[in-house]
């Protein structure tokens, strides 16, 4: 019964936003300069080096395609064309070197050559292409559009695939498919950056981004596992079997999945079952802060009190109940790259869509 209800919801959701059928309706897209200049400046000073490299300081100072994509998106949101160019220059020159047109995912300053894993992290490519597309619309740079189009098409070829009976986004080009893993495909539902799909659909219309969005929302509904009903970071989604945490990965709703609700909200999606489960876990079970949750037991392994993570919960509360953002979360307090990034993405969402929460 429940499943039917969910399917109905998904179908309704598909019909609602005009963006899918009518890509010109870009009013839903985030505006450039929605991010306060000083917040961005603090982030930039802390995590973007002069070469345009976004430094993941909690991971040995490496960089990755995801970080570069976040950096470009934030630079766009801050209206900072100079920084956008800076980060893009590094991204293109250092990472966008694969034969298939996608970005190598891992760059290590201590290694020579710096690219230490040529594989792809598809969310990084989505972020890069999405940011380029947004920047092109804002600043009218055909270079950006060309590059974004190439990446979007390459994603369609390499990462958006029919696997396990569904249209899925493979997390990487190698190592995750049903043919490569016994429990494959292995997916990461936090790689579905829903806000980007309508934009990429304009650039690469041959790719079924609508179907990808639909399968992502279906998977999010179905992958609510364990007592806490939360999706695992790494999900095994085989054709003829139940969804389970993928083997070889810690079975947690962890740092990856933390951003699922943010991504849904940024794409204008609210009130889904998974969002309710997340909200329930954060606010009922864990005192209002995000937690790393063990899927089999439903128990919290850690509560995350860094401002960037608390902002995720604050944003969720704001979106659902109009709860105002606490005073200590009104400004970026740069801690580490990842929570600081999530903070700025949350803040730009709130200031653009829920400005009342900041009053």
């Amino acid at each position: 019964m429940r499943r039917w209800v969910n399917r109905a919801l998904i179908l309704a959701g598909l019909l609602l936003p005009a963006v899918f059928a009518q890509p010109s309706a870009v009013h839903a897209l985030p505006r450039s300069a929605s991010l306060a200049a000083d917040d961005w400046a603090a982030y930039r000073a802390r995590f973007v080096d002069p070469s345009g490299r976004v430094v993941d300081d909690a991971n040995g100072g490496i960089s990755h395609s995801e970080g570069q994509g976040y950096g470009m998106l934030l630079a766009y949101l801050a209206g900072d064309r100079g920084s956008f160019e800076r980060i893009w220059s590094f991204t293109r020159t250092e990472l966008l070197i694969r034969d298939d047109g996608l970005a190598a995912w891992r760059w290590d300053p201590a290694a020579d050559p710096h690219v230490t894993d040529i594989n792809v992290a598809s969310d990084g490519d989505i972020l890069i292409a999405y940011s380029l597309a947004l920047a092109n619309q804002a600043w009218n740079e055909p270079r950006y559009k060309r590059a974004a189009t190439r990446i979007a098409q390459a994603l369609g070829q390499q990462a958006v695939r029919r696997e396990g009976g569904r249209l899925v986004l493979l997390p990487g080009v190698t190592g995750f498919s049903a043919s490569e893993r016994q429990d494959g495909p292995v997916l990461n539902l936090s790689y579905w950056i829903f806000e980007a799909f309508p934009v990429l659909a304009v650039l690469a219309p041959d790719v079924d981004w609508t179907g990808l969005a639909a399968s992502g929302r279906e998977l999010l509904t179905l992958a609510r596992l364990g007592p806490a009903q939360l999706p695992p970071d790494w999900l095994s989604a085989p054709a003829n079997g139940p969804l389970v945490p993928a083997s070889g990965f810690e079975p947690v709703f962890g740092y990856n999945s933390l951003r699922i609700d943010l991504y849904l909200l940024r794409a204008g999606i609210t009130g889904t079952d998974v969002q309710k489960a997340i909200r329930n876990n954060w606010f009922v079970a864990n005192g209002g802060v995000p937690a790393i949750v063990n899927i089999p037991t439903g128990k919290a392994l850690a509560r995350l009190s860094e401002p960037g993570y608390r902002m995720l919960a604050a944003t969720l509360a704001c979106a659902v109940d109009g709860t105002v953002i606490p005073a200590d979360l009104r400004r970026l307090q740069p801690t580490h790259y990842y929570p600081s990034t999530l903070y700025l993405l949350s803040l730009s969402l709130v200031s653009e869509k829920y400005p009342k929460c900041l009053s």
Binding site: R81, G82, F84, T93, I97, D100, Q157
Partner: protein, 700 residues
């Protein structure tokens, strides 16, 4: 193949190749390709880079830029006022060129975008943007090449063909490699040809030819090397490379026995080797000769390499080549000297020593040669080395020591049959039934010859295999120098944590080192003494009969010992009878008569004629088997034993004669052959001929 990949292939095949190919195949007018000036007479040339480099005093970049602009605009002349204060009034541009010269492309991008954000009408000079695009593309191309993304390398090159100039040699090289890696060697040839036709930097030209040598071969490479120029001093610019090429070719074949080079190549390298002072060429020639079956020639080259400080590899080759020419003894000092220089040297040393020691009869070795080998074997836990020491000890009559080394070898290499066989053989000789049974238990089903040590049935089976006993031996392995004193061997060093291989074998058998292969050393009277007459008449105590049995067994005369023990068993009871039974079983063991049925048959008072016949038969088989395994001492021992109970037939005498021959005991062999020939046994003539041929050869 994915759709994208096929697109890339199409791109590489249809777009990249013509675009880049054109770039390379028309060097005289490269300007005609992408950026053809619309007006050749009065080109609008952006000289800002030029002025910037001039103002910086960066003459290398300045020259490169002048060359680049000249290539683009054939009618253009560099301005005369280059070094006068620049008329350029835009301070941003100077800063941008500064960033460019420092390779700070991201900073350039940021600065340009920032200015455009505040000043929407401002456009940077096209020249600046072109150079920036090319700078980034070159860097990206190198990154893609490092990641072996060859299609990406070619696509990047296609998108920024302007960077494919002599000033970007690194990029050119990587594009060429990308063509090779994507199975387009002809396009790579185009790139290299372009470089050698166009670019002038001598080091880069040389490096280009070297890179081409690594990636191309055959006529393609010849075509390229033909583009060499003559140096100011009259030498050819790639002369050294041609030698390297020669070295590469012979060197490759030197690693691979199935590959050969032409006689010209070989002669060329030989000339280089003789003319030079380094060891490398001689070493290559040594290995080539060695791997192509000419060990004698290899010895000479390795010797030359060794004399030229060729080091460990030269020593290894020298040792192996000497061993291959049956001069292992000569190689031993060198092999020992270099044993610590590397795994290969150590192996070579152990191998030649193992070969030397396993030879039967044992060669005359200096005490120190054997003594210094044993610690190396222990240290390396070399099963082959331990086994060789075992055979050496065995062949020189040090059976206890042999058992110990064989035991050690079997411990280090539990699945090595020869080690187990050696251990079993030594255990049998030592009457160590427990060890023998253990080995047979482990190997009986897998090794016929081990089983044969305890099973007459198996022995018969082995012996019935077709074999010609009268096969003349191959050329002598060592110079004849009998009689000789074998080196006294030590047992293996027991390491801490390593149990002594065999407790019973901690010291050599007393006097074993001097034991003669033939049993004539000690007369039978030594055991008989005063009891001989009593024994013959049956008037002897049980204890005395047992003592006589042990004594005879010590003299290696188990058949007679059986009689003594048998008598003791019949006339005694209790402890003495037990001792007698035990002695008898050991004596049977020594005879190889461990088969229960056989023992019973002999024991249950068979008519003595039948027992003798049985034993004689078994000893015949034993002798034949030993001879076939080249264990000539054992063959003679078996025949000796047999001759005590039965007359020796002519065919067995032939085996005995050939055994003497193989042991280099030519006088004994000759006596026998001649006796046999005189008795009408014509095959003995071959033996006499063989003796004459061999001795004549040695004397000459």
């Amino acid at each position: 193949m994915s759709f994208l990949r096929s697109i890339l292939l199409v791109l590489v095949g249809a777009v990249t190749v013509p675009a880049i190919g054109q770039q390379f195949t028309s060097p005289p007018t490269p300007a005609a390709t992408a950026t053809a000036p619309d007006s050749a007479a009065a080109p609008k040339v952006d000289e800002s880079a030029l002025r910037f480099f001039a103002s910086q005093g960066d003459s290398r970049r300045l020259d490169a830029e002048i060359a680049r602009l000249r290539a683009l605009y054939p009618n253009w002349q560099p301005p005369k006022d280059l070094f006068s204060p620049t008329p350029d009034q835009d301070p941003d541009l100077a800063r941008l060129w500064q960033l460019f010269s420092e390779g700070k492309f991201s900073d350039m991008r940021a600065a340009i975008a920032q200015r455009q954000a505040t000043e929407p009408d401002w456009t940077p000079p096209a020249e600046l943007m072109t150079r920036l695009d090319e700078g980034e593309a070159a860097r990206r191309l190198v990154n893609a090449s490092e990641a072996r993304q060859w299609a990406s390398v070619l696509r990047i090159a296609t998108d920024a063909p302007g960077m494919l100039v002599c000033g970007n040699m690194e990029v050119l090289w990587r594009v060429a490699e990308a063509f090779v890696r994507t199975d387009a060697p002809k396009r790579a040839l185009d790139v290299y040809t372009y470089i050698l036709n166009t670019c002038t930097n001598p080091e880069e030209r040389l490096a280009t030819a070297q890179k081409a040598m690594q990636l191309l071969d055959g006529p393609d490479l010849d075509t390229l090397l033909a583009l060499e120029r003559t140096n100011p001093d009259g030498t050819r610019e790639f002369a050294g490379l041609r030698d390297d090429l020669l070295r590469t070719r012979v060197g490759r074949a030197a690693q691979d026995a199935s590959a050969t080079v032409t006689a010209e190549d070989l002669a060329g390298l030989e000339t280089l080797a003789r003319g030079g002072t380094a060891a490398d060429d001689a070493l290559v020639l040594g290995w080539y000769a060695f791997r192509h079956g000419d060990a004698a020639r290899a010895v000479d080259w390795f010797k030359l390499a060794l004399d030229r400080d060729g080091g460990a590899k030269a020593a290894e080759g020298y040792v192996l080549a000497l061993a291959a020419t049956r001069r292992a003894l000569q190689a031993e000092p060198i092999a020992y000297q270099w044993r610590e220089s590397g795994a290969d040297n150590r192996k070579a040393y152990i191998d030649i020593m193992a070969g030397l020691l396993s030879t039967s009869p044992p060669p005359r070795l200096d005490q120190s040669v054997v003594a210094r080998f044993a610690p190396v074997v222990s240290e390396d836990k070399s099963a082959a080395g331990a086994q060789a020491l075992g055979w050496y000890a065995y062949n020189t009559g040090q059976i206890g020591t042999a058992a110990s080394w064989f035991g050690t070898a079997a411990q280090w290499a539990p699945d090595d049959e020869p080690a187990a066989y050696g251990l079993a053989l030594a255990a049998a000789r030592l009457k160590d039934k427990a060890t023998l049974d253990a080995v047979v238990g482990r190997w009986g089903t897998r090794s016929d010859r081990i089983l044969a040590l305890v099973s007459p049935e198996a022995r018969r089976r082995l012996a019935s295999r077709p074999a010609s006993v009268a096969v003349p031996p191959s050329a002598p392995a060592t110079p004849p120098s009998r009689p000789q004193l074998p080196v006294q061997l030590n047992t293996p060093v027991s390491e801490p944590g390593y149990p002594a291989p065999l407790a019973a074998a901690t010291s050599p058998e007393p006097g074993a080192g001097r034991a003669s292969p033939s049993s004539g050393g000690r007369g039978p009277g030594q055991c008989a003494g005063s009891t001989e007459a009593a024994f013959r008449s049956g008037r002897i105590s049980g204890e005395d009969a047992v003592a006589r049995g042990w004594c005879l067994l010590d003299l290696d005369r188990p058949m007679e010992a059986v009689d003594a023990f048998d008598l003791a068993f019949r006339i005694s009871t209790g402890r003495v009878a037990e001792d007698a039974a035990y002695g008898k079983s050991l004596a049977y063991l020594r005879l190889g008569l461990t088969n229960q049925a056989q023992v019973a048959a002999v024991e249950t008072s068979q008519p003595s004629a039948r027992a003798v016949e049985l034993s004689a038969d078994l000893l015949s088989q034993q002798a034949v088997a030993a001879y076939r395994d080249a264990r000539y001492v054992e063959a003679i021992l078996a025949l000796d034993e047999r001759s005590r109970i039965a007359p020796e037939q002519q065919d067995l005498m032939m085996i005995r004669a050939w055994s003497y021959f193989n042991l280099r005991d030519f006088p004994s062999a000759r006596r026998l052959f001649e006796a046999l020939q005189a008795a009408g046994y014509t095959e003995a003539g071959a033996g006499i001929d063989a003796i004459m041929a061999t001795t004549r050869k040695w004397r000459s």
